[in-house]
């Protein structure tokens, strides 16, 4: 590390930007400056050329993704043009917006990662996330690094190679232990099962009210819905959504959305009916007629039953299989010893 006057930085290729963050890389006189801007402030990190030990680039396989992107953009362009010619300009504009968004995301997709290793440690260079710009930037940095680091004398190199520290490319004698995922083995909260059992009960009650309209259930249903929502939201808040994935997550969030909507309307219905009851007998009769609309009630009951059965199946089957799987400690590659 040497003290120098204020450097004149030159921008290196590559940039990673989002709404609230922008990462860039700059080349100084004797160091590479990584700048992370959060729009209203900037954080800096310096990698001195004399200290850089290695630069690593890993490219993701693109496969047929590029071809798919171009085909999708081409088909969208043709579709937009044909919609405009057939006087469906509104749909054309909407499809154009969607296609434009897709093209923008496809063009900004990351396809590589780059790291730098110094004597202090390793750091990722997030601005080098596209292969073309990453190669250019690494070539520039590499050239400067070789200038800053004089080649090692032959006798010193041979001494280093003979000493116990392993060669840089020699395989590690012992692979590092795989990190244990503590959360992976955590079972889902039993509240989810209880909530879906409650939803099953609510569905049955809803179906029964379709055939025997009874005023006793006017307040029971919204209360039941809100109990169900509370039983789903409580474990979500306490443990997060990390340990419910795949089918379980879909069941939980679909149930939350559907039951939340039904609960809101149910509460508004019950309160308005309660208010009208005191005012007018004719309005009361109208409400009774609507409530006796069997197809609507049957439909809602079936929806609730489907959600309940889906949730129960998702949670019971997944928990059984996870119990079988998680007999030992979980690692990144699955249970240890499997």
């Amino acid at each position: 590390m040497t003290a120098t006057a204020r450097s004149h930085y030159v921008r290196l290729p590559g940039r990673k930007s989002s709404l609230l963050r922008r990462d860039t890389l700059w080349l100084g006189d004797d160091h590479v400056l990584f700048v992370r801007s959060s729009r209203f402030s900037e954080d800096y990190r310096r990698f001195y050329l004399a200290d850089i030990q290695a630069l690593v680039l890993q490219e993701r396989p693109s496969g047929n993704r590029r071809i798919i992107d171009w085909v999708a953009i081409g088909v969208s362009a043709v579709a937009v043009a044909s919609l405009f010619f057939t006087q469906h300009q509104v749909w054309g504009v909407l499809l154009g917006i969607v296609a434009g968004l897709y093209a923008w995301l496809a063009l900004r997709r990351e396809d590589c990662k780059a790291w730098v290793q110094t004597a202090v440690g390793t750091a990722e260079l997030p601005s080098l996330c596209r292969v073309k710009s990453a190669r250019k930037a690494l070539a520039i940095i590499g050239e400067k690094v070789l200038t800053a680091q004089p080649p090692m004398p032959v006798e010193e190199l041979s001494r280093v190679l003979e000493t116990p520290p392993p060669l840089p490319f020699a395989p590690a004698p012992q692979p590092p232990p795989l990190p244990v995922l503590v959360n992976a083995a955590r079972p889902a909260s039993p509240l989810y099962n209880a909530a879906f059992v409650l939803l099953l009960g609510l569905g049955i009650v809803k179906l029964s009210t379709a055939f025997s309209s009874s005023a006793e259930f006017v307040w029971v249903m919204p209360i039941g819905y809100f109990c169900f929502l509370a039983m789903l939201i409580t474990p979500l808040v306490r443990h997060g959504a990390k340990n419910i994935r795949g089918g379980r997550s879909a069941a939980v969030f679909t149930s939350l959305i559907v039951t939340g909507s039904i609960a809101t309307y149910s509460l508004s219905w019950a309160s308005s009916r309660w208010q009208r009851r005191l005012q007018d007998a004719n309005t009361q009769r109208l409400y009774d007629m609507i409530e006796r609309a069997a197809p609507l009630q049957i439909g809602l009951g079936v929806v609730l039953l489907i959600l309940a059965i889906w949730g129960l199946l998702a949670f019971l089957t997944t928990s059984a299989s996870s119990e079988r799987r998680t007999s030992g400690p979980q690692t990144l590659f699955g249970p240890e010893g499997s």
């Binding site: 120098t4 204020r6 700048v35 690094v145 392993p166 490319f169 020699a170």
Partner: protein, 191 residues
């Protein structure tokens, strides 16, 4: 003396990657193509020392570590430093305290910097949406813009266009507010 984790792993499938010593591209089993460029610094042995313990009574000791023998004196404050505290700063030897003090005076140790010009511009653009807020936001934006022009700039080259634009808009907003106020007063006086 070798590549450290996570460089040795494929970032997609986490499999171990054996890089080619000559910088050639190697493929992982998942299709990721990896390449490592290695420089002479990787062979360099570390020069830092943990500091030697005091051997005999009466020996000079480190200012920060009483049980460590002093190996040098700080060129700035003169304190004795051990091998651990000794920092080579160009041709000078400094202690950690002087390095901390220097942090505020040099760009070479700056870790972060606020962007007052971006703040000022965001505030004036926001106030254009809700014009009634201009009376409050315009002075704030002017203060931030002036501060941006006076404060140390971003380390990376950055023009002051944002600060000037923010300053202009804020001044115009204040002028507009003043004109509206005068107009309202004159209208009231006529009636």
């Amino acid at each position: 003396m070798r590549l450290e984790s996570p460089l040795t792993y494929c970032h997609v499938c986490l499999a171990n990657i054996a890089y080619a010593p000559d910088g050639a591209i190697v493929s992982c089993r998942c299709g990721v193509r990896a390449q490592a460029f290695v420089y002479p610094a990787i062979f360099r042995l570390g020069t830092s020392s943990a500091g030697e313990a005091v051997q005999a009574e009466g020996e000079a000791v480190c200012f920060a570590h009483e049980d460590k023998r002093a190996v040098a004196a700080c060129d700035s404050c003169g304190r004795f430093v051990c091998g651990l505290c000794r920092i080579e700063w160009g041709s000078r030897i400094l202690c950690p305290t002087c390095i901390n003090a220097a942090e505020k005076r040099t760009d070479l140790l700056t870790q972060s910097r606020p962007l007052y010009d971006a703040m000022a511009l965001a505030i004036v653009l926001g106030s254009l949406v809700i014009f009634t807020l201009s009376l409050v936001t315009a002075p704030i934006a002017i203060y931030l813009a002036i501060r941006a022009l006076r404060a140390p700039r971003s380390l990376a080259p950055r023009t002051m266009v944002r600060a000037w634009i923010a300053l202009s808009i804020a001044v115009l907003e204040l002028g507009g507010c003043g004109w509206l106020l005068v107009y309202a007063l004159m209208l009231g006086a006529k009636r």
